[in-house]
Symmetry: C2
Subunit: 488 residues, 2 copies
């Protein structure tokens, strides 16, 4: 069937559950056709909008195309597309960024309403009907199970060697949930295939379209310094006997800082490492190639175009070194806590007490969403947040008197790292945290103003536990909005 | 040995790991003697301070006595004593409120430094050296394992029938952690006894001192309305097939609202319920007596004096209906998520988007601490937060434009209940959440001002995802501090 024919099954006002996690394994032809139809309807004065659930962010053919024609009414649980973000921040689309491990259980509970159509990209359909997944696992099987009808995109661009790389395991909802039998990142507990009730499949569309992920830039000086500070800390933890010599399994967010850390690990003394994380990115592939990393467990690839090409050409060499799991397994607090993952995520800003904002610029404008950072930060053996100490050429301090939005309360923030240094916050009270964060992590240009705020807050607060000047707490953000800089 | 002799083993600047969780099972004679010694030293111009780790809050003989003489340098992970709170809020003691399930793993990791002395109340010591625990489990076994030396208080006031009621199970730290084999609240997986290396025991002190918990007041009209709103919602969830007829296991915070909910459950149609929670309080005993509740799993008792007396007289009748577990088991996200607990916790304030403050009054003054609310809210099948819509005779609105401190980000807040009504926030965007919370939960006296703020925020925000007026966001708190009321 053509994509144009397939979209006849999708009705306005219904909910689509799409495959895809980062720019990997998302459907492409069907959403492009749907976007064209939505545009056509709009040109004729008719409104056609859908709700879109995915694994996480997706590529331009899905989020981008549908957002460009203003075709999305409600979106969850994560996005990072320019057009989608703009629609949300213009108030033209509703969005909620659930913890990524929560999306499947929420939908299965029935609380999110019915899922009308699953649109799932696969690499192939076996003769017995089982589905060979493509480059992400995400919520795919959950959407296949929950949907009233299913549209499959069979993408021949995806590598046939993906077969065997996944591990689909379905967590039964309470009261029938069982322990997840993963004892180390290497453990396979399910099936490499997805399944679908054939009677629900209303269309199969053949495509040949590449995944699209953004390229990484090479880590700059700031990112390399952040990575070096973090690696010093990990070495210290090993020396103190608080971590094994091959570290605990690594969780790493996406982006240039994360990639710098992974680069740094290439030259580190750590061997035989594993990762139990959300996405496999360039740096992990390099660690796998070098034999430093034994196993990368994740829910999706998130590779630069160059690395995606490399992997496509060498997939078979990695088949026993990578596992792609559903995101309610890859991000499950049960497993994260059992394995003692090291959570390494970036932040937008932290206040002096270590309350972290990962999502909102100036309190109101959402960037991407909380993603899996909360799944990992809360249940990791140690939770690290990383950021350059300033942004916008120094006009923004990443350390502020009060975070204008809080995604990770101070209890979940154990270590903060900037290019200035590292703050180990374990065992410290809020005031000790503030003094450590300002001294070790803030940019020297902002340090005096932060110290000044903190000292005056100690004089005027109604309580001395977490000193705050209510009238000034958000004044740095306000100043930035009005004057373009947080500097006084 | 007398308590006065035993405290010779406790040196200034060292860390004490005490038993106790709420006013149950905490050591009494040793801390009273230590407080007297600290006072004596102070009178002679010498400083004697210790760090105090416990399970959670304790009674006046421990937190109260040591705080009164300013003998505590650092306190974790939870407190609720008037004197302790005052020391913290005057800046005279350091405090950090870790998630209760995190305290044991943090200490075992070595990151909190050495534990010098465990001071643990027990009911009895068996002839083979095993310890019969008293009225809480908490972190007791973890402190016995981690401490360099141990002081035992054998409290003959505690009921001999406590023997057999506990279930001690030690979670090995990563990389040796195994699945916790609890499939339902009723499951026993460990031993009713605690153990201690006899060579570490430096003192055994005999006492006969009652536990001390605060009495509950009878639920008032507001609390009863909150409970009724919540019970209506639970009935609806059952009717919709989203919850079994005996509900999912109940987690309930402590206090008058929680007790009102438990009272309400007495007259509900729900039968054969279980609770998997932190503390067993009066209302649960009544449900057990009435046969409505089959099993109460917790880490401690938290009973009013009258109910404590009743239970002491009838303990044997409850031995197969209650289990007391270590707090890293009772509050473990693995088990909470597997069982699908219904988390029901109170809050200090929530902002219009459902970011919840459970700890800080006016941003700086800590009340008690986050306790187990985060352990449960994050991993529950549904997370409910409850509060009267106003406080201080109407001078404070529990619904504010922006929370002045955030303990639970909006992702972990699925339902908010006040006496005005209930907001089911599942599947809603921030703006839809705001409209629902203001309409359903805010007090009518504050509703117009909240709506006015929200509408103006939509006009001026840099992003329309979570509208905020940076210069006004905390103005309600500021007004309360200056003028004694949040009313304009």
């Amino acid at each position: 069937m053509t994509a144009e024919e397939a979209i006849a099954f999708i009705k306005p006002g219904t909910t689509i559950g799409a495959s895809g996690f980062t720019g990997s394994g998302y459907p492409k032809a069907v959403p492009l056709a749907l976007a064209a139809k939505i545009k056509e309807e709009a040109d004729s004065g008719r409104t056609f909008r859908v709700n879109l659930w995915t694994g996480a962010s997706t590529g331009p053919e899905l989020d981008g195309a549908l957002a460009e024609v203003n075709g999305i009414e409600f979106r969850m649980p994560y996005q990072s597309d320019t057009h989608m973000r703009d629609r949300i921040n213009r108030g033209e689309a509703h969005y909620f960024d659930y913890h990524l491990s929560h999306s499947t259980p929420l939908v299965k509970s029935g609380a999110m309403g019915p899922l009308h159509t699953a649109v799932i990209e696969v690499t192939a359909i076996k003769s017995d009907g089982r589905l060979v997944p493509s480059s992400s696992a995400g919520n795919n099987q959950a959407w296949l199970d929950a949907a009233e009808q299913v549209i499959l995109e069979v993408n021949s661009w995806q590598n046939a060697d993906l077969e065997g790389m996944h591990d689909f395991y379905t967590i039964a909802p309470p009261p029938n949930t069982q322990p997840i039998p993963i004892m180390k990142a290497d453990d396979r507990i399910g099936s490499p295939y997805m399944t679908v009730d054939p009677s629900k499949v209303v269309a199969v569309v053949e495509t040949h379209i590449p995944d699209r992920n953004a390229p990484f830039s090479d880590p700059g000086e700031v990112e390399m310094k952040i990575a070096a500070n973090l690696l010093d800390f990990l070495s210290h933890e090993v020396k103190m006997g608080r971590m094994p010599e091959n570290l605990f399994p690594l969780q790493s967010g996406v982006g240039n800082i994360a990639n710098a850390v992974l680069c740094g690990l290439m030259d580190s003394p750590f061997e035989n490492m594993t990762s139990y994380t959300e996405v496999i990115q360039d740096g992990m592939i390099n660690l796998l190639k070098a034999g430093k990393l034994r196993m990368a467990s994740a829910t999706a690839f998130s590779l630069s175009p160059d690395m995606a090409k490399y992997i496509n050409d060498h997939m078979h060499e990695f088949q026993d070194k990578m596992i792609l799991r559903p995101q309610d397994v890859s991000n499950n607090p049960e497993v994260i806590r059992r394995l003692g993952c090291i959570a390494m995520n970036s932040l937008i800003e932290t206040d002096i007490y270590g309350n972290v904002n990962s999502t909102h610029v100036m309190g109101s404008r959402v960037m991407n969403g909380i993603g899996g950072s909360g799944d990992f930060a809360r249940s990791a053996s140690i939770s690290v947040f990383m950021t350059p100490s300033t942004a916008k050429g120094g006009a923004i301090s990443a350390i502020v008197p009060q975070a204008c939005h809080v995604d990770h309360g101070s209890q979940d923030v154990r270590v903060i790292v900037t290019e200035q240094g590292l703050a180990d916050l374990r065992g410290l009270s809020p005031k000790q945290r503030a003094e450590t964060i300002i001294r070790n992590c803030a940019h020297p240009d902002y340090r005096p103003a932060l110290l000044d705020y903190y000292k005056r807050a100690r004089d005027v607060s109604v309580g001395q536990h977490t000193p705050v000047i209510l009238d000034e707490a958000l004044s740095w953000h306000s100043r930035f909005v009005k004057a373009g800089s947080m500097r006084a």
